[in-house]
């Protein structure tokens, strides 16, 4: 049994091991209420990571996800009054459109994705500041409860956020496993040149991956805005790092091609356990960045497929 044979199983082994260790040290940790609360807490991050999975799966990266979510919290807060429930559609379309823009710039204008998404993130940040007038915004509590209250309620003592997360996971899983787009994404992730040679419209597939990422980042922002009942241009800062960490520790490498949305679900749970255990061990919330930065390096080093990188730039 070599490392390569257990590598695909590492994510869930890590998750079980972490849960066991933390469970032994902290009696409260394994109580169902605690586990449910912990899982519900992480849902906006999960939705963002779910979108990022598609982009990382094709070997690209989306650094605009956090700015996108920031911008959407502002849009949701500003337009809830006039649009009511339709604001959700506006958010999804805005996310899809800006994601598509990143994809266009990457594939048609040949700008590497980490630069194109950084730039689109800058555009989103400007939009957010312009719309918000550089202030924190608050939703009208009554209107929020009437329109989006269902998002943060509970059904049979299960938080609705978890049900939303599950529904999105199933849709994403369907797209990944049962649609031509999913197969095309796999082909592009496994080898872009081969996919092009097979007659696949690679540019279109990649643009759609960025658009999906943008849309899910927008939904993450919307849910976050509803939870906090407001928005601001920097409110979701701190999402990007754990979201990328979640995708990578889940087992979707930066080089793409393997892994997928189920892996990301496991990865997000790993992040959630690490987070709550850090809180339990008294590690300050601001220190989490440092831990996640180190976890990120370890996760990339373990998962990346070096055969795909001719030179490591």
């Amino acid at each position: 049994m070599t490392f390569e044979t257990i590598k695909p199983h590492l994510p869930w082994i890590t998750l079980l091991a972490l849960v066991a260790v933390v469970g032994v040290m902290n009696d409260n940790f394994l109580r169902p209420a605690n586990l449910l609360g912990m899982a519900a807490e992480i849902v906006p991050l999960f939705i963002m990571a779910l979108g990022l999975t598609f982009v990382i799966y094709i070997g690209s990266i989306d650094l605009s996800a956090q700015s996108m979510a920031n911008m959407i919290t502002v849009i949701a807060s500003v337009y809830l009054v006039t649009l009511g429930p339709w604001v959700a559609l506006l958010c999804a379309v805005a996310g899809f459109g800006l994601g598509m823009l990143s994809g266009y710039v990457t594939t048609r204008l040949l700008v590497p994705s980490f630069i194109s998404t950084l730039a689109v993130g800058g555009v989103a940040f400007s939009l957010a500041q312009w719309l918000s007038g550089q202030r924190a915004l608050y939703m009208d509590a009554a209107q929020r409860n009437e329109t989006f209250g269902w998002m943060i309620g509970t059904t049979a003592s299960i938080p609705n956020e978890l049900l939303i997360a599950l529904a999105l996971l199933l849709i994403a899983l369907f797209v990944e496993r049962r649609t031509t787009l999913g197969r095309a994404l796999k082909a592009v992730g496994a080898g872009e040149l081969a996919a092009t040679a097979s007659g696949l419209n690679v540019a279109r597939v990649k643009m759609l991956a960025f658009a999906i990422s943008g849309m899910l980042a927008a939904l993450a922002g919307l849910l976050f805005a509803v939870k906090l009942s407001g928005g601001a241009p920097t409110i979701a800062n701190g999402f990007l790092l754990p979201a990328i960490v979640a995708v990578l520790v889940g087992g979707t490498p930066l080089t793409g091609g393997v892994g997928g949305v189920v892996n990301t679900a496991i990865g997000v749970l790993i992040v959630a356990v690490i987070r709550s255990s850090m809180v339990y061990f008294g590690i300050d919330a601001t220190q989490q960045q440092m831990v996640f930065g180190l976890v990120l390096i370890a996760a990339i080093a373990l998962t990346i497929d070096r055969a795909k990188l001719r030179t490591v730039k």
Partner: protein, 341 residues
Amino acid sequence: MSTSASDTAAQGRVAMQQTRAFRRPSRETLIRWAPLLVLIALVVVFTAINPAFLSLRNFGRIAIASTPALMVAIGVTFIIVMGSIDLSMEGTIAVCACVFAYFFLSWGGTLLSTAWVAIPLTLLLGAVLGLLNGLVHVLLRIPSFMASLAMGFVGIGLAILITRGEKFLIEDEVFRGLVTYRVLGFPIMVYLALAALVVAWFIQSYTRLGRNFYAVGGGEELAHASGLDVRRVRVMGFMLAGVFYALAALFAVGRLGVAESVSGANFMFVSITSVVVGGVALWGGIGGVWNALVGVLIVNVINNGMVVIGLPDFLQDGVLGFLVIVAVVLSTDRRSVSFVK
């Protein structure tokens, strides 16, 4: 008959190519001079809209704002010339600024005492952080953009650990003289930054290390085949960049008189934008520290000019994002790139 016809056609083509070359400067020339032309055009436009833009006072303001950014841009230029990228500057600057302020304050709090030791110490620290960055990238064989992004997050966390969320205030008049003491209208730190630029130019053009950066950026496999220790050059590049980030940290603290965990905030976006807009190709091998200077000036002239002509400052990130895309598109030789990630 058929040969002479094709000869004539060939001659015609050559003639056409010659006239085209005469009418239009070559792609390389255009890319080389475009950033400078853009800078001049921006100055002309802003001056036309508001003549107050073209004053020594305002240029002093632009120069002060540009100084820390120029140091970061020079550092990252070395990395981009190698074809890599470094996104760790926000963390490195934050750690350097906080460590500097901590020791500066605890060793006397004024440049005239032993506290000056904090300055070389900070430069050394920058080199060590850059070294770590390079080692993570090279030894673990992780793409540099991700290795450095992660190390940047670690750096910011470290800075929070050092400051515990507090701010360090540096009120020493001698150290703040960097920005308050002016010669010919510009503060001393602007001259120091220009001196650092000349040093960087010397390293780039007249040292073996500097030439090796271009060898790696121009074609890593060829450089390796020629017997160059590419991994060593990469690590050295990140170390050198770290020293310049440390300089940026010193100037940033000197400029504001404050060191805190967010001292490095926004330097990543601005410096990468500057370098790329200045004409350093992301693919490596093209451009240098003078491009970094022009790029930093373009970005800061835009930032300053937008305020001077009365546009809201929140448009800046959007405008810069747009600019960086245009710059990358213009500098990409589309024939040589088959696909990008």
